[in-house]
């Protein structure tokens, strides 16, 4: 008993001494992990002095970028004296080069795949650091190789943070309710549409009926065919009217879908303000499928609470690949936002440290999940909304930037598809207009 008293006193003593010591505070060291995180869990170990004081700015065209700001907070745990901020640049594509040359130059800036092949953006890439430099120790292996865009010199001026794809938002509960399987082939898609039509649903597939939205519909036949035929891409890029014939398979598919009643354009035309309206309409709960880009899918999470219908009757949904062939669906793997590092930045070391922190399976997964965009990591199931894409066979992944279709070509496809879908032109007429379409 006496021993237990001594033990109790020792424990009390230890507790009080611990309280006293904690009260004295603790110092931080260069390799200290944030509280509550073991070094194994964190996966990131600071390589710079954690007491470094500086400011980093990321410039982009997003109005807001809370997902990135969440990453700022995490990085801030390692480097508490580094201030990170995101700033939106107005008229980004035109002004970013000017901004980079100003005294307000950001440390990290958005870059897009299309800019790489456009001479207008040479000034922008003149500021971009080669992020494949092994000295930077950035873990590029965690990014799907199909998304890494290198320049002609083999340098990697940007690293994708999000991917972009398209597909159909599927109300899984409705499919369950009607006893219909989510289609994985074109025939199943048509059958499902017929079944939903027969069941009296407003439209089997909801789409924002504007030309730009048709890219989500004809992406697979467009890129799929071009990927198989390099000569086709070259010809298409010339916008020579004779290349319009390449659009025929895609336009026939659009026409076929229309004829099978997959889209009720009257319902689709009720949508007034783009993807916001599409999402809210989808959340009404009576739409089995909605044609959607990755950006549209990313907006769903935030709008769940904005939809009274969804709040009242939530349902399970996910973005599925759109199967337009009987061989199954493909994944059009396209980088979305990419980060380039301003090599002229005042705090280049810390900027690279942030990139090293961000480019990891965990953080890239987190930022994609927070933004609800497809992640650039190998694991597509990080967010349940994109989980169906993880079932796609790797052989059916199409790296769109590798196909090399110019933006103007996609515009021709979209407008032509819109015209065919809306009966504004026959397939032949639409093909004949190739090279003349603008958004």
């Amino acid at each position: 008993m006496r021993k237990s008293i001594v033990r109790c006193l020792l424990v009390l003593s230890t507790v009080f001494v611990a309280v006293a010591l904690v009260a004295c505070g603790a110092s931080t060291g260069p390799s200290e992990a944030p509280a509550g995180q073991s070094s194994e869990e964190q996966g990131f170990a600071p390589s710079l002095d954690t007491a470094t004081k500086c400011s980093l700015t990321v410039a982009g065209n997003y109005d807001n970028f809370e997902a990135l700001e969440a990453e700022f907070d995490k990085f801030h745990e390692y480097y508490p004296d580094v201030e990170l901020s995101y700033v939106k640049i107005d008229d980004y594509n035109n002004l970013v080069a000017t901004v980079l040359g100003s005294e307000d130059a950001p440390d990290i800036f958005f870059a897009q795949e299309f800019m790489l092949d456009n001479d207008n953006y040479d000034a922008l890439f003149a500021y971009a650091e080669d992020l494949s430099d092994p000295a930077l120790n950035i873990n590029l292996s965690c990014v799907r190789p199909s998304l890494l865009c290198k320049d002609d010199a083999g340098a990697l001026p940007m690293i994708p943070v999000f991917a972009s794809t398209s597909g159909i938002l599927v109300n899984e509960d409705l499919f369950k309710k009607e006893g219909i399987s989510v289609p994985t082939t074109y025939e199943e898609l048509l059958a499902a549409c017929e079944a939903f039509n027969n069941a009296g649903y407003p439209t089997p597939i909801l789409a924002y009926n504007v030309p730009s939205a048709y890219g989500n519909l004809i992406g697979e036949p467009m890129y799929g065919e071009a990927a198989k035929n390099p000569e086709m891409a070259e010809k298409l890029n010339t916008l020579d009217p004779s290349a319009g014939e390449y659009m025929r398979p895609a336009l026939e598919k659009v026409n076929d879908l229309m004829e099978h009643g997959c889209f009720n354009l009257d319902v689709c035309n009720e949508l007034e303000d783009g993807y916001n309206a599409l999402i809210l309409r989808f959340f009404e709960g009576d739409i089995p499928m909605a044609l959607s880009s990755g950006d549209t899918a990313s907006g769903t999470a935030k709008r769940e609470s904005q939809s009274e219908a969804f709040t009242a009757n939530p349902f399970s949904y996910a973005l599925y690949p759109l199967a337009l062939t009987n061989e199954g669906a493909s994944l059009l793997d396209k980088p979305s936002v990419q980060f380039a590092v301003n090599k002229e930045g005042a705090n280049l070391d810390m900027t690279n440290e942030f990139m090293r922190f961000l480019v990891s399976p965990q953080e890239l997964g987190n930022i994609a999940s927070a933004k609800r965009l497809p992640p650039v990591t190998s694991d597509l199931s990080f967010d349940g909304v994109y989980a169906p894409f993880s079932a796609i066979d790797p052989s059916r992944i199409i790296a769109t930037h590798e196909v090399g279709l110019a933006d103007d070509v996609t515009i021709q496809y979209r407008v032509a598809a819109y015209k065919v879908a809306n009966g504004e032109a026959t397939i032949d007429e639409a093909i004949a207009g190739f090279g003349s379409y603008t958004l």
């Binding site: 006496r2 008293i5 006193l9 700001e69 969440a70 640049i89 000017t98 040359g101 100003s102 307000d104």
Partner: protein, 851 residues
């Protein structure tokens, strides 16, 4: 168990008090911190309102410049080039610029006062792609209105900026009659504004300011603010419904105040807000983390230190208390054991005292009832005497141990004879040894110095205690041997006296040996109970040996016997010794004990006697016969009584027939020789001598036989020489007086009583010289005690009267009592109960002038 519970209760109470103190400090600190926090929140709100005033003033100031420009442009028909030129000439700050953008042609193009970045003369500015940062239809024309744009990217230099705006009218450059509507933007870099919008107070250095417009979009955004819209930021990290959002929006735009929200890291922060009065719809937001406002007044190091100190004190207290309790417990146990021992002792003493008392009282009754039967009376009185002596021994032991216990035992050294001590030892021991048929052997070796200076009484006591124990605890037919040896001492002028007593008695257990010197302890053994004793002997002995600076060691094994060894370093006394010489005397010593032979040879040689030794009777007879044949008979033959082959009497008889009685024969006996005296004398034994041999005893015994010794003192029982002496007895106790006066009168000594010291003094002083031969002075007396009375007598003016011999007769029998009496001027000390022989011996000393 109860004590343990109390101890734990005390520990718990201490811990509770300690925790209570700490808890109180924490609660008090928490309360104070809450109050302080509320004050800080109020101050932060106030600071935010002040910031609003500063902001409003700033905006008004900046807007007024723009108003002046616009007023000039509008009041004077100017083309865009002229207007820009005018403004350019008015520029002061190199960071600012102004744009004039046409709004009536839908192109949103115009001119800038500063060239486009990277050019020197390209002043064209276009807002076509991004749109104007302010809605033209919202621009107010009235005086005092503030038209500030959202934060946007300056299209000419890419710098994030704000613009103060005014509508202006311009004249077409080509057609002066044509008017164009345009917007004048006074463009200021946001960073420049941020520098000015810093909280002025140091304590809010962590605060961050944002400025939001009527849609809650940030105009200026601090780092901690997320999203591009404050309401969206709030919604992202805080649970709020639609009504809550509307309520928040309303509050932000209409009143000042503050609220707490959770930031993007899940931390609580305070937002103080104040609508900008100068620009309706704008609100200034001041962000600060709650933790930054919680300025704890608690010195946690101090609290921790106090807690540790309290704990430390508690542990120390408990440790000391525990140690103290252990010591108390041990002391209590010791006291309990001592009490028990004393109780046991008292019980034993009660028994031991009652036993002889019972004998005394019972025998007294028997004697009283048979007063006519002389035999019974004599026997009773004899036994009463024995019982009385035993009782006296008991009382002496008790008194001794009580002196030892109180630490008052002191030594009174005097000159004494080792021989006398030894003889006394032998005399005392022999009867018991004889009664128990114990083989008793007392050997003395190399005693060169007979007279030593020490407390004879205590030396005696030590030696007797050890020896009597040996005899007591040795079963009949066992053996007890004593060795007394003088060894060189390391102490100058002293001898190292070794006294070893070995017996074949019952021995002692190790457990008992560990405590055998403790007071009030006596080994419990059925065999021990057969013997009388107080059980204090060893304790007294040990204390006395220690007091004399000696050592005592014991080796014992149960059932095999015990050996006690005592060593004492005793100073050699300066004493005039008789010149002992036995020149021309030849002595034959016959003993089978080699040590006895050696001892005798050493002693006799030092007396210059011729010494021959024989270890057997045959050898002795042969040597005696041979001497006789040479007509050189031994002067003295000393024969051991107990030779293995023939007893000493037979040897004496045969020697007598061999030398025809030429040599005197002395028989050596360790015991009293009374039993054999008659038969020995019949065969011609001339004398007896007991072991051990001392030089002086041998000298006296031989001299006696040779008739050269001085005439022995008169017989002890003949006290006729002191008859007629006059003694003054100072004694307050009637019985004691009666006993002493009757005993003395039996020897013809006259006595006079003084009832107290004062009477004694008066009698001595008044009776004159020679009236009394001596005074027996009791010490404890009323009116005047014996010490004071002695001093008074010694102080009498008549020197002869004042020098009268005074002998103390007192029950104060300790050595220091003796010393006290002697120091007061007395000439001797007799302890009560008095022994008449001692009294008479003292009187004789006075008679002989030895006192």
């Amino acid at each position: 168990m109860q004590t343990a519970n109390k101890r734990y209760l005390i520990v718990l109470v201490n811990v509770a008090v300690m925790l209570g103190i700490i808890g109180f400090v924490l609660l008090y600190a928490q309360r104070a911190a809450n109050e302080l926090f509320a004050t800080e929140v109020a101050q932060f709100e106030t600071a935010s309102v002040n910031m609003e005033h500063v902001t409003a003033n700033y905006l008004e100031g900046e807007q007024s410049i723009c108003d002046v420009w616009a007023h000039y442009i509008n009041s004077t028909p100017l083309t865009i080039d002229e207007a820009v030129s005018f403004i350019r000439s008015s520029h002061v700050s190199p960071d600012d610029s102004a744009h004039i953008v046409f709004t009536d042609d839908g192109l949103l193009q115009g001119l800038s006062t500063r060239p486009k970045a990277g050019t020197e003369d390209d002043y064209v500015v276009s807002y076509k792609a991004m749109g104007l940062p302010i809605r033209v239809d919202k621009l107010a024309d009235e005086a005092g209105a503030i038209n500030v744009s959202r934060s946007y990217t300056n299209p000419t230099n890419g710098i994030q900026s704000l613009a103060f705006c005014n509508k202006v009218s311009l004249v077409d450059s080509q057609d002066a009659s044509r008017q164009h509507e345009a917007v004048l933007l006074r463009v200021i870099p946001t960073e420049k504004l941020k520098e000015k919008w810093v909280f002025p107070l140091d304590q809010y250095k962590d605060a961050e300011i944002s400025l939001i417009d009527s849609d809650s979009n940030y105009i200026i955004k601090g780092h901690e603010y997320k999203n591009s819209n404050f309401i969206e930021f709030y919604k992202s990290y805080n649970q709020v419904d639609v009504a809550g959002v509307e309520e928040l929006r309303e509050r932000l735009s209409t009143e000042s105040g503050s609220f707490f929200m959770t930031n993007s890291r899940g931390e609580e922060c305070l937002i103080a807000y104040a609508p900008i009065s100068a620009n309706r719809g704008w609100t200034i937001l001041n962000y600060i983390q709650s933790s930054s406002l919680q300025r704890s007044t608690v010195d946690w190091f101090l609290v921790g230190g106090v807690a540790c100190a309290l704990l430390f004190l508690l542990i120390i207290d408990m440790t000391f208390m525990n140690a103290f309790n252990v010591r108390l417990n041990e002391a209590a146990k010791e006291a309990e054991a001592a009490n028990r021992a004393k109780s046991d002792f008292l019980s034993t003493m009660s028994h031991d005292i009652r036993t002889p008392m019972n004998a005394i009282l019972g025998l007294t009754t028997i004697a009283q009832r048979n007063v006519d039967d002389q035999t019974i009376v004599k026997d009773s009185l004899y036994k009463i005497g024995l019982a009385g002596n035993h009782l006296l021994t008991l009382i002496n032991d008790i008194l001794d141990i009580s002196k030892v216990e109180s630490g008052k035992l002191t030594l009174t050294p005097n000159v004494f004879s080792v021989v006398e001590v030894t003889e006394n030892l032998v005399n005392i021991s022999q009867p018991m040894a004889k009664d128990k048929s114990i083989d008793f052997d007392f050997r003395v070796n190399a005693i060169e110095h007979e007279y030593l200076y020490a407390d004879q009484l205590r030396v005696n006591q030590v030696f007797i205690n050890i020896l009597s124990n040996a005899l007591k605890y040795t079963e009949p037919h066992g053996s007890v041997s004593v060795d007394l040896q003088e060894l060189p001492s390391s102490v100058p002028g002293a001898v190292h006296l070794l006294y070893r007593v070995a017996d074949t008695g019952m021995g002692m257990s190790e457990e008992f040996m560990a405590h055998m010197y403790e007071s009030f302890s006596r080994q419990t053994d059925s065999r021990v109970n057969k013997v009388q004793g107080t059980g204090l002997g060893l304790a007294i002995t040990k204390q006395m040996v220690d007091l004399m600076g000696g050592t005592i060691e014991c080796q014992s094994k149960e059932g095999e016997g015990t050996t006690f060894t005592i060593t004492l370093d005793l100073p050699i006394a300066e004493h005039e010794t008789e010149d002992m010489k036995l020149e021309s005397v030849t002595v034959l010593v016959v003993d089978d004990d080699e040590s006895v032979l050696q001892s005798a040879q050493a002693a006799l040689s030092s007396l210059d006697a011729g010494v021959e030794l024989a270890s057997t009777s045959a050898q002795a007879l042969e040597m005696v016969g041979a001497r006789h044949n040479r007509r050189d008979d031994y002067s003295i033959v000393i024969v051991d009584w107990k030779l293995p082959d023939m007893d000493g009497i037979e040897v004496a008889r045969r020697m007598r027939s061999l030398d025809r009685g030429r040599a005197s024969t002395i028989l050596i006996s360790a015991y009293d020789w009374s039993d054999i005296e008659e038969s020995a004398k019949e065969v011609g034994v001339d004398g007896f001598i007991s072991k051990p041999f001392f030089k002086s005893t041998l000298y006296r015994a031989i001299n006696e036989q040779l008739h050269v010794a001085a005439e022995q003192v008169a017989r002890e029982d003949d006290w006729s020489d002191i008859a007629g002496m006059r003694v003054l007895v100072a004694e307050d106790n009637d019985v004691n007086w009666q006993i002493l006066s009757m005993l003395l009168s039996m020897h013809g000594i006259e006595t006079t009583r003084a009832e107290n010291g004062q009477v004694a003094v008066d009698l001595v002083a008044s009776s004159g010289p020679g009236a009394y031969d001596l005074v027996f002075m009791d010490v404890q007396m009323p009116v005047m005690n014996g010490i004071e009375a002695t001093k008074a007598i010694r102080a009498l003016p008549d020197r002869e009267v004042a020098s009268i011999p005074i002998i103390a007769t007192t029950a104060d029998a300790f050595s220091e009592d003796v010393a006290l009496c002697l120091n007061a001027g007395m000439n001797g000390h007799i302890a009560k109960p008095i022994e008449i022989k001692i009294v008479l011996r003292e009187i004789r000393k006075v008679k002989e002038g030895k006192i």
